[in-house]
């Protein structure tokens, strides 16, 4: 006891203090620190490099690869600006595979690994679903802006002064900038939300969740193809690009509702 010096803190808590302080502190718990949905979005955004850096890195790698392929074609005799050159450059699907793969991974992992921590921080499952959707929208808008700006630069510099078609390509709308923006926005959002359902299925049913979901979606597609195969020729003939926009919109809505359905009563194990 003699070891104790002069007490620095002289206030003594009493039993009554305990209760009154408790009550006052619990009465100040009316609202979370910030809008819970935005808090979840910010939780995802904490991984800045993953959100903003890595996708652009993938775009950069695809651009470099496209340039290398163009150089090889050039050395092989194809002339920049020729019709053959433009058609083959514009049909390069590299961006879809590279970015698609990464976005798929990010969509699954961000839902799967962030959910537990969000719940620990007191987020509701509803706030988590909406906040994650908003975060997906942030990434989709960001990439849409980045790719639209790059495509605009490509057009403004007359295809980088040498005739390289890197962003003025078929899957980005062949240099139609509003189309580029819409394609990237809807494409990325669809990719992330669909991947998110698989993450949600994993949270809810662990390993068998994504497997069953994959089999289910596969079956629906097969059945749809079986039904539509006889009219395949007419469908292809009548095809309009906006059909894809509708399909993406349906996928985004279905995936978001699916995530909410799966997470609504998900528990932490």
């Amino acid at each position: 006891m003699t070891v104790l010096g002069t007490p620095a803190q002289t206030r003594t808590p009493e039993a009554s203090d305990v209760t009154s302080n408790f009550n006052s502190s619990s009465s100040s718990t009316k609202g979370p620190a910030m809008n819970p949905v935005l808090a979840v979005t910010q939780l995802h955004l904490t991984r800045k490099r993953m959100t903003f850096g890595v996708p652009v890195l993938y775009v950069g790698v695809v651009a470099v690869l496209s340039i290398l392929i163009s150089l090889i074609a050039w050395r092989a005799g194809s002339q920049p600006g020729s019709t053959g050159w433009i058609v083959s450059s514009r049909s390069n699907p590299g961006l879809v595979w590279a970015l698609g793969g990464f976005l798929g991974y990010m969509g699954v992992s961000s839902t799967a690994t962030t959910f537990r921590f969000a719940i620990t921080l007191g987020a509701t499952r509803r706030a988590f679903t909406l906040g994650t959707l908003l975060w997906n929208l942030v990434i989709a808008s960001y990439l849409a802006v980045v790719l639209t700006v790059l495509a605009a630069l490509e057009l403004a510099t007359n295809h980088w002064f040498v005739g390289f078609y890197i962003f003025d390509i078929a899957i980005l709308g062949n240099g139609n900038l509003p189309a580029t923006f819409a394609i990237v926005l809807l494409g990325v959002l669809a990719m992330l939300t669909v991947a998110g359902v698989f993450g949600a299925a994993w949270i809810r049913f662990s390993n068998r969740g994504p497997i069953l979901l994959g089999i289910g979606i596969g079956l629906v597609i097969v059945v749809a193809v079986l039904i539509l195969v006889p009219q395949a020729a007419q469908i292809v003939a009548a095809f309009e690009p906006w059909w894809l926009a509708i399909a993406a919109g349906v996928a985004i809505i279905a995936a978001s509702l699916g995530s909410w359905r799966l997470l609504r009563r998900a528990i932490i194990r």
């Binding site: 003699t2 104790l4 007490p7 002289t10 003594t12 808590p13 039993a15 305990v18």
Partner: protein, 122 residues
């Protein structure tokens, strides 16, 4: 720090009382706050308050609102009187019981006490 099965708040009160009697905390001096006592001895804050309040109720400590807890005037004498009252029950009776168990006769017990007194410098 504290052991056994006596309630912890009583053990804390006993310890504070020991320190008042021994002069570690002179009368009118401040004793550590219940919070500091709780931190120092790994005690629940409510348990520490209860221990301090026990001595406040007995009149050995008093609280100055917003300042702290102090040793009351006459606290030492008060606690010493309490202990004198308990001397027989706490020490003499167990001594006699143990001595009987060992087969000592009353005269031998008396001699033991006298010898011990003679050896202890007063």
């Amino acid at each position: 720090m504290f052991t056994g099965t006596t309630p912890l708040f009583q053990q804390l009160a006993t310890r504070l009382a020991d320190d008042i009697v021994s002069g570690t905390y002179p009368e009118e001096s401040a004793v550590p706050s219940a919070t500091d006592l709780a931190v120092f001895f790994d005690l629940n804050p409510a348990t520490a308050s209860k221990g301090v309040n026990l001595l406040v109720e007995q009149g050995a400590l008093y609280k100055k609102r917003g300042i702290g807890i102090f040793v009351a005037p006459g606290a030492r004498e008060l606690l010493l009187a309490q202990r004198r009252d308990r001397l027989r029950a706490d020490f003499v009776e167990p001594l006699v019981r143990e001595a009987r168990l060992l087969g000592l006769r009353p005269a031998e017990i008396e001699r033991l006490v006298r010898d011990t007194l003679a050896k202890e410098p007063s």
